[in-house]
């Protein structure tokens, strides 16, 4: 899994394009990242293609307050798939070309309409699955959604809030069971 500090890694020699951005002030991601600026080098896609693809991923999984940096990781992952496989590269480049250069800057309604038109295509379906499986698996998304992930390494949630909900009454003991360590 790509980590935030990977975003800053630059390799101009192999680069075909670049995506850059600035984390929002107060973004939970700012705590994870080494600095507020970020950049992702692309090795198959051009900067324009990268920008269009970033906009595609954001239109698929629309979270207004989630930084572009999180979506850039999806772009980076799709770009890497393109580098590995010519068929994927063609699928992605053709698909992006079909959306046109204006896609990235278009308003939400126009972007949604454009994607609806290509929804049945392998291009869109591949982008959809790739967006969901990459975006929501990233530490950036975990931070944004408040998901804490695995806890075995920290001793589980037994002593870390598995039952700390207080806005509803506790079920009676007869329908549940004793909390280990609390009698």
């Amino acid at each position: 899994m790509t980590r935030t500090n990977g975003i800053a890694r630059r390799d101009f020699l192999k680069s075909t394009g670049i995506l850059t951005g600035l984390l929002a002030v107060g973004s939970p991601l700012a705590l994870l990242a080494p600095s507020r600026t970020w950049a992702v080098d692309l090795t198959s896609l051009t900067s324009d293609e990268g920008a269009t693809l970033l906009s595609v991923t954001r239109t698929i999984a629309m979270h207004d307050k989630l930084d572009d940096a999180a979506y850039a990781l999806v772009v980076q992952s799709i770009d890497a798939d393109c580098a590995k496989d010519a068929a994927t590269r063609k699928l992605v480049k053709d698909g992006l070309a079909g959306l046109g250069a204006g896609f990235a800057k278009a308003g939400e309604a126009r972007r949604v309409a454009a994607l609806k038109e290509v929804e049945p295509t392998p291009f869109f379906q591949t982008m959809r699955i790739k967006t969901i499986s990459t975006l929501y698996a990233s530490p950036l998304a975990y931070a944004y959604f408040g998901y804490e992930g695995e806890a075995f390494s920290k001793g589980g949630y037994l002593a870390r809030g598995f039952n700390d909900l207080r806005w509803l009454p506790d079920p009676p003991l007869a329908d549940s069971g004793p909390v280990p360590g609390q009698g």
Partner: protein
């Protein structure tokens, strides 16, 4: 561990090391029988289980191709992954969520109790409930099932608190933290549950029962088990006397081997068990082994399942804690007034990221779809698990157009839903929606039917040999020394998560095999 010679024809060969095969191996070896246990997967351990959801899925899942068709939602939503079963020593007991309810008394005689239902092939089990109950009690002790035998219940997690409050307000009475094969006390050399979640990724603390670290080491300790990992059974051979006498398998080095056997027990999960029988066709058994009745692969059942998700305006953090430790039993009893036969469980559920958007939510994208995830911290969920109706044409067949890495035709899973199935699902979704809205849910979303994890019925037990594949002991009608030792043997699905029943039937089958071998009657 024993080293059993390939030509030793006194060996019992068990294929598959999950709930059925793992338990049976222990039961037979501890009685002194020599057992060769063939497992196609690797041997993992709690130390090796990944806690990255994507990695864990790849680590444990049997990912070889299968195909599917029919009107069930899985065919559309998961065309390349119709079933989610494990490929590992311990089989699905590695990735199961440890829910261990019993079948209900009425469910064993569904045909009698529900009456004739056109378009189904439902028959009664050839076993009396009191007989099964005897083995449930042994199995529950073995697995340390909570709320049975004085074992404390699971403590209430945040997610359960929401289920409990919503269910009680809705008027449900039988709501508790479920019967779980998860340690709430130190027992069986294993510690207590530390509420880490990640039950479906392999339990790193070992609090969840799995044959991987209970029955199989137990069998090894007897000195009578020869466990061969990464060994794929390719066909079961038989002699001119129409008795099985060997299993051909490809070993971990890629070499084909032929292990002689006096008895063969098939426990490869209800997709691969009928596939292996069909692949073992011969001149004497042209339709596949034990398939004189043409019932091998038919009557496949998988439970009516599905997710219902709800969000509230306050945090729940549903991922904290044992995934399935919550149960509503009020919709279990058969009640024809609801408009369908059989009953269903509501089971507590949480899914990690990215599994929730990948497999738990309905297909979608865009603002409306993704905005539901913005409330991930405030989300609760329930999993419906109900009886589905067997149909002769809901079946596992061989698909010769697609080959597995061994060059053999893959399993094709065909399921057309019966109206009874649809009516039950609709009822469950309506009830769950009302339940969550009654507690003030902001939004309720009806999720997918996920790839089937409860696979049953495809080599079923029947009183009449024309109706099924095996008798009341899982012994095939055609071949006395060939046994079905997994969920394939279920006569119908009932509404209970199948593992406890698979274990109970394996314990019972071991008693039968022992008796029969002593009497010389197999």
């Amino acid at each position: 561990m024993a080293k059993i010679d390939l030509n030793d024809d006194s060996a019992i060969v068990i294929i598959g090391s999950g709930a059925g095969g793992g338990t049976l191996s222990h039961e037979l070896t501890r009685r002194g029988h020599k057992v060769v246990l063939l497992e196609t997967g690797p041997r993992l351990s709690p130390q090796l289980f990944s806690q990255n959801p994507g990695e864990a899925f790849g680590q444990l899942t049997w990912l070889e191709p299968r195909t599917t068709s029919g009107t069930w939602g899985v065919s559309k939503d998961f065309p390349t992954l119709p079933v989610w079963i494990a490929k590992s020593v311990g089989g699905t007991t590695v990735h199961w969520t440890a829910a261990t309810p019993r079948l209900q008394r009425t469910e064993l005689k569904g045909r009698t109790n529900y009456g004739a239902i056109p378009g189904t092939s439902l028959i009664d089990w050839p076993i009396e409930y009191d007989e099964l109950l005897k083995y449930y009690q042994i199995a529950e002790k073995r697995l340390g099932v909570t709320r049975r035998n004085g074992n404390p219940g699971m403590p209430a997690s945040n997610n359960f608190k929401v289920m409990y409050a919503a269910a009680k307000k809705h008027g449900y009475k039988r709501v508790h933290t479920a019967y779980m094969a998860i340690n709430t006390t130190v027992r069986d050399g294993r510690g207590i549950c530390i509420q880490q979640g990640f039950c479906a990724q392999g339990c790193k603390s070992g609090a969840k029962w799995s044959t991987l670290y209970t029955e199989i080491p137990g069998a090894e300790a007897t000195g009578n088990l020869d466990l061969r990992i990464e060994s794929r059974a390719l066909r079961i051979g038989h002699g001119a006397d129409k008795r099985v006498n060997a299993v051909v398998y490809r070993d971990s080095k890629g070499q084909d081997q032929r292990q002689k056997a006096k008895l063969v027990c098939v426990a490869c999960n209800a997709i691969e068990t009928p596939r292996l029988l069909l692949l073992s066709e011969s001149a004497q058994f042209p339709k596949g082994l034990a398939n004189t009745s043409d019932q091998v692969g038919r009557n496949y059942v998988h439970h009516i399942t599905g997710f219902i998700w709800a969000t509230y305006d306050k945090p729940i953090e549903s991922w904290r804690g044992a995934t399935l430790a919550g149960l509503i039993e009020d919709e279990l009893p058969h009640n024809a007034k609801r408009g369908f036969a059989g009953g269903y469980h509501f089971e507590l559920i949480a899914l990690d990221l990215p599994s929730l958007p990948l497999a738990g939510l309905p297909y979608g994208w865009g603002r409306d779809w993704s905005s539901f995830l913005d409330d991930y911290r405030n989300m609760t969920g329930t999993f419906v698990n109900g009886e589905d109706m067997p149909r002769a044409d809901n079946r596992i067949t061989l698909n010769s157009n697609v080959k597995d890495p061994f060059g053999l035709p893959v399993a094709h899973v065909h399921v057309d839903e019966h109206d009874n199935d649809k009516a039950m699902r609709k009822h469950a979704q309506t009830q769950a929606t009302a339940m969550y809205e009654g507690l003030g849910a902001k939004r309720v979303v009806i999720g997918n039917t996920p790839p089937a994890t409860h696979n049953m019925g495809s080599a079923r037990m029947s009183k009449d040999p024309r109706d099924g594949v095996a008798n009341a002991w899982g012994q095939t009608h055609d071949i006395p020394n060939l046994f079905i030792s997994d969920g394939s043997a279920f006569t119908s699905s009932g509404s209970a998560n199948p593992t406890l029943t698979i274990v109970s039937l394996a314990l019972r089958q071991a008693d039968y095999i022992e008796r029969s071998l002593k009497a010389g009657s197999i």
